[in-house]
């Protein structure tokens, strides 16, 4: 079956396509979260070193993965929007940012919760935690810049520049922080631990990751739909939509 992909690059057709996809992703996210949390809390064995507290990694690790991955996705969509002047991809980038920031915050928060019983302190200047914090700053910068600009076209393009500059800088920042951390090794706690994970733990984490994926997609689609409605409110098709709703 040949699908005309270009058809869905117009905001109007995407709006309806996304409307059909959102329930699917939402249901998938709910089921997977339930399964993942069940495995995480009840099936996975207690870690002999870390006790029960380790169970937070079932949220922490997927959140950290999502936070980085979503930033890259955001930059790619924004870059496409800048290069080809496609409105929909810029809207996607704008829609991704809050979810990415939320996962970054979640990763930091759960990291702190885990750190307290493990290291006896809420915060250590560990390379990964520090990079994650900087990633949160980058997300906040992107969102604040877009929020400060009234003209949506300028907001899209300016956001794209800062997202791309951020993506170029992320590896540099990461390696600087990692290197900085090793120089100051005495003051911090090493987080490098690679015990063999039980298969059930791995399964639980994988399921939770996919659940986060589904959730992220569903939320981003919902937000994109809202942005489309807001920006296209003067077009005929949105007008018809309003007529139908009334």
């Amino acid at each position: 079956m040949a699908i005309n992909w270009f058809k869905y690059s117009s905001p109007a057709s995407f709006y309806f396509l996304a409307g059909k996809m959102i329930p699917l992703f939402s249901i998938a996210a709910t089921i997977l979260f339930a399964a993942g949390l069940y495995i995480g809390f009840f099936v996975a064995p207690t870690d002999f070193q870390q006790g029960e507290a380790y169970r937070i990694i079932f949220i922490h690790v997927p959140a950290a993965w999502m936070s980085m991955f979503l930033y890259v996705m955001m930059a790619i969509w924004a870059g496409i929007g800048l290069a080809f002047n496609t409105r929909l991809s810029s809207m996607m980038a704008t829609a991704i940012a809050p979810t990415g920031a939320m996962f970054t915050f979640l990763a930091l928060w759960t990291g702190a919760l885990w750190g307290k019983p493990m290291w006896g302190t809420w915060w250590v200047w560990d390379a990964r935690l520090t990079s994650e914090l900087i990633l949160l700053f980058l997300y906040i910068g992107f969102m604040s810049l877009q929020a400060a600009i009234d003209d949506p076209r300028r907001a899209d393009k300016a956001g794209a520049v800062i997202a791309l500059v951020g993506v170029v800088n992320i590896p540099i920042i990461y390696f600087s922080v990692k290197w900085w951390n090793t120089l100051h090794q005495g003051a911090t706690v090493s987080v490098t631990q690679s015990p063999k994970m039980a298969t059930t733990m791995l399964t639980g984490m994988l399921i939770m990751s996919i659940a986060c994926w589904m959730y992220a997609i569903a939320v981003i689609l919902i937000r994109t739909r809202t942005i489309i409605l807001e920006r296209e409110r003067h077009t005929a098709w949105v007008g018809e939509l309003r007529g139908v709703a009334q």
Partner: protein
């Protein structure tokens, strides 16, 4: 084929469409006067013609090729004077003229700059910082660029604003001479200006 051609131009500001389906073509020695009430998109149209803004729809061609692909080659052929005159407060009149010309790719001698300012009626004020000049005098400093730039197309946004009648006369002569030499002018003005050389086209925005 005409030298400057705009086809099906459309301008959108925020939610409002300012104009659509604007077409014009300009030959050597022609003047295009853009008319319209406040907020009808005159400045937006001129900024599009400079390449500062991108039209929502349509194309602007210079010698048959899109100005967006020409970039520097096109910028070298035009001179734009906007609402903001680009005159720096802390620089003297002559520094302003020499530096703005250098930015536009034409480096001029101090002597030539003196002559241009003198011609614009600023003789004796060349060494005053622009902040002590009046609004009209600052406008004259900006307009002096037209004397030295040597470009084919002038894009002027309200060039007569804040000018006295003597200066209006000066600008009028300047435009006539430019058109007589085969130059082109696109301008907006609320004042009536009477140009006898070359053909004058009018473009009405609503």
């Amino acid at each position: 084929m005409s030298i400057l051609q705009g086809s099906n131009l459309e301008c959108v500001r925020g939610d409002r469409r300012l104009f659509r389906d604007i077409n014009f073509s300009l030959e050597a020695g022609e003047l295009l006067q853009v008319h319209g009430p406040n907020g009808s998109g005159k400045t937006s149209l001129l900024r599009m013609l400079c390449g500062l803004a991108t039209p929502a729809h349509g194309q602007i061609c210079w010698h048959g090729s899109d100005i967006r692909s020409l970039k520097g080659d096109y910028y070298g052929a035009i001179t734009y004077l906007g609402h903001l005159s680009g005159v720096k407060d802390d620089l003297t009149a002559i520094e302003n003229l020499r530096i703005s010309s250098a930015l536009a790719g034409v480096e001029i001698e101090a002597k030539k700059a003196h002559e241009a300012l003198q011609h614009m009626g600023l003789g004796g004020r060349e060494l005053l910082p622009a902040k002590v000049l009046s609004q009209g005098q600052r406008r004259r400093v900006a307009l002096a660029r037209l004397l030295v730039c040597g470009t084919a197309l002038w894009i002027l946004d309200e060039p007569l604003a804040a000018l006295d009648s003597a200066a209006v006369k000066l600008v009028q002569n300047l435009l006539e001479r430019h058109l007589g030499q085969g130059g082109m002018v696109v301008m907006t003005t609320h004042q009536e200006i009477d140009i006898t050389t070359g053909a004058t086209q009018r473009l009405q925005l609503t």
